[in-house]
Subunit: 396 residues, 4 copies
Amino acid sequence: MPDEKERRVWNALNSFRIELPSWGFANTGTRFGKFLQPGAATCVQDKFADAAQVHHLTGVCPTIALHVLWDLQNGESSVAEILSLATTYGVRPGSINPNTFQDQEYKYGSLGNPDQAVRNRALDHLADSVQIAKRLESRDISLWFADGSNYPGTANIRQRKQWLAEGLRATHQKLKDKQRLLVEYKPFEPCFYHTDIADWGMSLLLARAAGERAKVLVDTGHHYAGQNIEQIVAWLLSENMLGGFHFNDRRYADDDLTIGSIDPYQVFRIFHEIAFFEFETGEEPDIAYMIDQSHNIKGKMEAMVQTVMTAQELFAKAALVDHEFLQKAQSKADVINAEECLRDAFATDVRPIIEAWRKSNGLPVNPLQALHESGYVSQISRDRAEKNSAAISSYA
Amino acid sequence: MPDEKERRVWNALNSFRIELPSWGFANTGTRFGKFLQPGAATCVQDKFADAAQVHHLTGVCPTIALHVLWDLQNGESSVAEILSLATTYGVRPGSINPNTFQDQEYKYGSLGNPDQAVRNRALDHLADSVQIAKRLESRDISLWFADGSNYPGTANIRQRKQWLAEGLRATHQKLKDKQRLLVEYKPFEPCFYHTDIADWGMSLLLARAAGERAKVLVDTGHHYAGQNIEQIVAWLLSENMLGGFHFNDRRYADDDLTIGSIDPYQVFRIFHEIAFFEFETGEEPDIAYMIDQSHNIKGKMEAMVQTVMTAQELFAKAALVDHEFLQKAQSKADVINAEECLRDAFATDVRPIIEAWRKSNGLPVNPLQALHESGYVSQISRDRAEKNSAAISSYA
Amino acid sequence: MPDEKERRVWNALNSFRIELPSWGFANTGTRFGKFLQPGAATCVQDKFADAAQVHHLTGVCPTIALHVLWDLQNGESSVAEILSLATTYGVRPGSINPNTFQDQEYKYGSLGNPDQAVRNRALDHLADSVQIAKRLESRDISLWFADGSNYPGTANIRQRKQWLAEGLRATHQKLKDKQRLLVEYKPFEPCFYHTDIADWGMSLLLARAAGERAKVLVDTGHHYAGQNIEQIVAWLLSENMLGGFHFNDRRYADDDLTIGSIDPYQVFRIFHEIAFFEFETGEEPDIAYMIDQSHNIKGKMEAMVQTVMTAQELFAKAALVDHEFLQKAQSKADVINAEECLRDAFATDVRPIIEAWRKSNGLPVNPLQALHESGYVSQISRDRAEKNSAAISSYA
Amino acid sequence: MPDEKERRVWNALNSFRIELPSWGFANTGTRFGKFLQPGAATCVQDKFADAAQVHHLTGVCPTIALHVLWDLQNGESSVAEILSLATTYGVRPGSINPNTFQDQEYKYGSLGNPDQAVRNRALDHLADSVQIAKRLESRDISLWFADGSNYPGTANIRQRKQWLAEGLRATHQKLKDKQRLLVEYKPFEPCFYHTDIADWGMSLLLARAAGERAKVLVDTGHHYAGQNIEQIVAWLLSENMLGGFHFNDRRYADDDLTIGSIDPYQVFRIFHEIAFFEFETGEEPDIAYMIDQSHNIKGKMEAMVQTVMTAQELFAKAALVDHEFLQKAQSKADVINAEECLRDAFATDVRPIIEAWRKSNGLPVNPLQALHESGYVSQISRDRAEKNSAAISSYA
């Protein structure tokens, strides 16, 4: 590694870890139905096995995000099973994801429901989730609320805001030690008129109302068309309110496509804003990088490995930006040179450097090809096929 | 009816009929799950019963759109049952909707699938659907293709265009007498990178390639943000290519909210363009008005009755536009007066006139209230509750 | 006024005042050029005369927003002239609008400019504007910053955020008594990559950083497609951060069309959220209603009168919502009835009540028609034609 | 050049030419004003000089698009001057751009204006433009119509469609030999309610109505948010209706940023669809690649050189796609490998190959740096400064 470029990329790769979502290995789909994959995970053990395989091939995915309702079906009683799986597979539990949108009771919302009994039920589930996270030694509880309404006039927007603030504050009080609440926002879907936490501003205000260990969770797919996500990231950094990311890509709505598949330059710019913040402040913000995608067409395992490789690649490119030069160009409003500084980093083909880094770390040079050669997908497709042919759902 | 306004509204109401979708009475939802309604229809008989009730209350819904896969589960063999239900309930079969998106085989498309066997399967289903339509004496076969791709490079866009054109041509050849093919477009969902029939221009070209009885089907929710739907309607009218509508409303994507719930002025303008076309040309275009919504929060029956009432109201307002005056103002570029001409019609409260029309036709003055008073929803909620508590689906 | 509906509308009309923008009477256009109107105002006296005429016809526009650069060309020295015009024409100075975007120095921003000299220049202009406002007894200083960048990497987003915060804080310190700073946001244009104050969340954080008399200014045209403006209004109300509105309508971007011309239901919902807040809290928030439109096709005077009438009409409709009923329906998640409560108010034709109110206040029943009959537009078209034929600008 | 990759890139570069817009060298801006550049071109001679300099540095810009109103101010009488400049500077006249939007007469439209006198005026200007093009031996006449309306009801959409069709047909009849009409579309701006030619479907229908040498002109900035431009390109190719491009980039509306500055992967995909079409059909479609940007912040010359380099780079990347492999992967619905095929090409750093190509063609290896070193910008900034300090326009 004689080269400055290589050194920057290696440092970046050494520091970069990304969390796998357990639900990314299971069959998902759209409201029009699911296309079942024979190798899709059907239980939490499958999910750990799959995550372990991805980590084995890439070396940068030591944790798996867990979904309380789907992965810990007996709540706290499932903790032992999870810990055992973690030991077996060598992948630690990552962020804990409560679910306050699936049960029939949540038709009109969870923490924002006009019925106090439902609000309490949601609160209890959140408290359980914090407790589960403690037992699993998970730091982050990731909160996404589907709360909102479909038609004008049908929900009291201000009242629901207050209920959400109270619920988050109560949940925050349950936190212990270094635990954090990550508050996600989303402009729409499944609610189509108003969503109680619709944008980063709403997340930030609610997180501040909740307590100092509540931060904002940025899902890259949860923005209006044209919105500048990297600017939001820069603002959250400057406000010390950026908690983490749910990564995915999209063209239109919350399409949950694999990261960088539609607009790789944007992901690069997000990583750049973080690296630039670190350069300028000397701080290392505590950011959870997590994948949240819905691979309803791509093979689950292939999609996940491809995603990790793409994230690494774009993170590595961002590490190439010459911060001193950029700072100087910006301070002189030297538009062309400042822009070229970013463009040069993005245009650089970092794949050879990443391959060298992998080799030096005893990892397969091309994880995607290694996955193919491993026969893993064929194996799980045979093993799990029967279980996967069962549950077909349709639109109506 | 001494009054010119009243006369125009009555004429409009006398001519206006709108078709109910069988699937609008069944449980639907989002990809995050369905909120089950105890009174939701669980079989085609329920759907006929519900449609009949809506027609009974409103008097303007004599037909029900049928979905081949869900409503004629034995294909052509189910025709007799449907005809019998039609007789029993006094509601005729309306448009016939094939389904080439739900089966696992269609993962990579139907008519656009690279696998010829799958394309043939889709073609066969379309041929069956035409045959079913004949037997049911249904005029229109409504075609919505979910075909497309999720990632750049994964589909041959031009090749798929050609396959779609060939498939539509072949299907068109099966038509008999006055039957029509209605070709729907949609920018995205369930495909998120490219959709084979993404906009009205693609529908129009494919419909023309199919044959002269193929027309474009406009789903009001299937447009880009900001797109001027009434202009598309005006163009399709002038090209003699407007076949019909799927009505619903939305804020963001294809939200499938009830018509006019978000932007009633836009629906009014669509109806206005049609009425203005009739005034200027003396022609009466053959347009199928159909509802296509997904009432996953609103009560199924209430939503449908409310929808019909709203459609009537906006159609009636459009009938109030003074076409002579408008034409003159437009021809002089008299911007303010031309606009005020539309605004005046929209601002007029036509509800009293509609109520009078209902009374004179022996219909309940307020169908929504009549529905409530009829006890119908309570009744079906009791009768169907058990069957509806079964099939809960979740995201992952 | 025996009727409860009429009483509500009268109360609403008695309380509703809306401010006219001086620049709404002058020739404006798009980047492709201006279509000149012979009667357009060419000096501040013309603007006062036009505003006075609108107030004379409608009775609800006692103030005119002034633009420091265009209306007080000698800065504080122009104050005497303005005060004299105010006396002559009976229209008071309203909000004061600094301009930190037009001068060549502001090419790379004003308060966010990397050059300290430019930042100081902007600060000085803001201080002058506050001083002018004091002298004119204007309460509000409306701040719109065009600051931002056109290309990735060319601006230091966090650094600029800090400069903006400092500049606003310094400006806030100049305020006296009841003066307020209104901080506007806009997603894009004239900057196309990033805008320093891009959304309500950024406005709110900067306003809070500035001081307690800084509030958020909502321009209805400055939102992403699909964004729920009334929800933002409700949140700002609940945070005590809503300072005022710039009203206009649009389909796509910041089109600056006349209010309610594209989506009247949305304006109604905004007014509703305010009225509902007042009902629930008993508070009367101090909200400046201001028009900010660019009538480049409509006649200036006609557009303004039409705008005021439309705003009144939608404000009056919002006053018809039955808050007790709505509150109850919302608390029971009675979706249909809650929505119908809003729909009923919107569908009501309030024009006859407004006409009665006008008559009782000695105002023309139809201000638009009265404008026409007054001959005012013909008169100013003759008087000002020559001055208006001068300054044609083109794209390149 | 032993390498297949290099060979493909060299072939691509040998074939790639891109046309410079004369107006790209002049001062432009937004409706809020223009930031003047001292070196901006102020006359057609300046524009030729600047274009020649760009061609000198890059070697791939032999033509300059001309704007009839701005560059041939005496109409056909200016032809001699243009031909002389072409000889002097070694840059040929490219596409000819009529202007039917700037004059005051066009307030309510040109070919779609309800006043026949204005329609005739526009027709005459189009005929003059065809004649000028003949005299200049320019093949393409590029037509962009700003026609449309700002408010519902104010324009007769169908009638205007017919007038546009007639006008285009009449203009087409004036064409000679290989001349072509290119019909551009744009969803909005400067019209904000409806634009007469709003999308590719409208362009295509009007071009077909005009005649066989009328084709569609795709401006990359003229699309709805999220619209798949490369799909439109593929459809136009398959319909033999793609005439050319106006290249620029954007985040929101028609931002006219430099190509590839916001979403380079999209430009790559557009070039890919064209290359793939050529591979599959063996045809070489006659496509005019033209730049159409508004550099109101970037230096005019720097922006243009940077643009040409970026276009080359993305065109070269597209040439790297392995078509045989891709075709096979697509035909098997091998999603991951098909996508990786594109991603691999895009990730490749083609800059070293391009530099070698430049060297071998006697061109500066880095044209942007060569521009800087040439002192050209400093020179024109000194020479033209005075003329450029004149015409400042403001918003109101």
